[in-house]
Amino acid sequence: MGTLLDVRGISKSFGGLFAVAEVDLAIGEREIHCLIGPNGAGKSTLFKLIIGTYAPSAGTVLFGGADVTRLPAFSRVARGMSIKMQTPSVFRALPVRQNLRIALQHHVQPHQALGEEERLIALLGLASDADKPAGELSHGQQQWLEIGMALALHPRLLLLDEPTAGLSPDETFRTGQLIQRLNAEGATVLVVEHDMTFVRQIATSVTVLHLGRVFARGTIEEIIAHPGVEEIYLGAAHDA
């Protein structure tokens, strides 16, 4: 299987401080890849470099074989990337239904949009809240709605930044199932996550970031067995 996302030597510095430094990351087609690391490791910054809301200080981003480093975020989305950000960002004043419609209308024909909208509402379990303003949903529901909006784009690469933050264990498990189902349907998924149970549930491979650099990579078993990984997590906890 080919490589869908190929990040090469990417760096981002803020006033001399490198949040991400010379990171290489290759994600194969239909892979579920997890990005873990203590707070401040540069995970969210790396996501922003991939989707294009930050311009890198150095390095390139290849997507589907094409260099997208200089493309603005919306063009990368048009090429098949999609992101759910760390903090839920939905259109709070607009009804749930309209949130999904805005995501859908970009590439779904009008006559198919309604059916697709209903399918997503059912999938997200938001049928009884579909006409409420999105801002009135619970935190977990907003997370799901945003995942739903990211899905509505039928992405080739789905970027999920902490999709289970603030969710109950049951909701977390269901989110994992959803990701696996999408993956089975053909999506490649890159997830930033802290919850190791969740990572174990979904991931086939893991990259550990620490202080903006790749610290380790491998299967979930290899990462858990890695003596340094626990150290950096605990170290970070001690420092905090």
Binding site: L94, R101, L153
Partner: protein, 352 residues
């Protein structure tokens, strides 16, 4: 297209609304038959201003861009009409061509200014500040054009005294022109207003309108759904500002006069007051509220212009404090909420 007249981005959507709107239009059409020509002319004058309010509602209420330069484009439209018409002559459709050309000038200027602002990622409060500065600059510039050296072709700009000498609009009609003055002008503006209002409703309820409100709510999220938000905002800015220009042309045709005081302060603040008071996020509210304020403002101005301005300021402050979504929009929402609540009390089982 007709099914886009109703939708999530407009408040009045039901049968009741359209019946009321039709009745209102019928009264407006019959108005000249039961009033004296002076009042008809006066009402036509009020209608001229509505376009710029609708334009601001589109930009500010739907897209989140607080443009303080509606009177800038009003001025470009008005002066543009004067300059083109004086040079071109009114006959043979010249006046109507001047209208189109002047609105096009306003639109082109909006495209240029908007490009630098929007593609320069200027947003929020700074958008308001920059547009306000641009507006004041134009007013100051025109103020000092009193000398005879300030002319474009045959048209003298005339500085603070204001430009005059243009002819009213005329409708080219099979070889001869129908002068649009008095009642004819009233009908012309009324038809233009109805068409503009309906087209804007279609626009905001379309896919384009969905993206506009998405940008207002969360620009980054909208961009990350694959929309080039700058393009959408620029198009909106051009449409909204061109409507400001249209207001200027109509005003100029109505009174055959325009001066820098229509551009600078306090004129520049007026559209913002009207639209904020009415409820910027709805076209119908902006239309109705603006009309109401214009009538009220004139009624008070007869006694004291200072008092009218003070009242406008008080109104703006009151709206911002008490009903930030605008008075018309808030009262409609309040009514709807009360009705739903009453229905919920009556039929609790159905609600569950």
């Amino acid at each position: 297209m007709a099914n886009l007249l109703n939708g999530p981005q407009t408040l009045g959507n039901g049968r009741g609304f359209w019946i009321a709107a039709t009745l209102f239009l019928v009264v407006a059409l019959a108005y000249p038959t039961f009033t004296d020509p002076y009042d008809v002319g006066n009402t036509a004058y009020f209608l001229c201003w509505i376009f710029m309010a609708l334009g601001l509602s589109l930009m500010w209420g739907y897209n989140g861009m607080l443009s303080f330069c509606q009177t800038f484009f009003f001025g470009l439209g008005g002066y543009g009409y004067g300059v083109i018409e004086v040079n071109l002559g009114a006959g043979h459709g010249g006046a109507m061509a001047s209208l189109i050309a002047a609105v096009a000038v306003a639109g082109a200027a909006a495209a240029l200014l908007g490009y630098f602002l929007i593609y320069g990622r200027i947003s929020g409060m700074f958008f308001g500040i920059v547009t306000f500065a641009v507006t004041l600059a134009l007013a100051f510039f025109l103020n000092q054009t009193a000398g005879p050296e300030w002319h474009i072709g045959l048209a003298r700009l005339n500085g603070f005294n204001g430009m005059q000498g243009m002819t009213p609009l005329a409708l080219p009609w099979f070889g001869h022109d129908i002068d649009l003055e008095g009642t004819a002008f009233y009908y012309f503006v009324l038809v233009l207003l109805v068409v503009t209002y309906l087209l804007l409703r279609v626009l905001v309820n379309s896919r384009f309108g969905n993206v506009l409100v998405a940008i207002r709510e969360d620009p980054l999220r909208a961009e990350l759904l694959g929309y080039d938000i700058r393009k959408y905002s620029l198009i909106t800015f051009v449409i909204g500002s061109a409507l400001g220009g249209l207001s200027g042309v109509l005003y100029c045709s109505w009174g055959q006069f325009i001066s820098p005081s229509s551009i600078g302060l306090p004129a520049a603040a007026m559209p913002v007051v009207w639209v904020a008071f009415s409820g910027r996020s709805d076209l119908t509210a902006s239309l109705a509220g603006t009309l109401l304020l214009l009538f009220g403002f004139q009624a008070i101005t007869i006694y004291s212009e200072q008092l009218a301005l003070i009242l406008m300021g008080v109104l703006l402050a009151g709206t911002v404090l008490l009903a930030p979504n605008g008075l018309v929009v808030s009262s409609v929402n309040g009514l709807v909420r009360r009705r739903t609540r009453r229905r919920a009390v009556l039929t609790p089982s159905l609600q569950r």
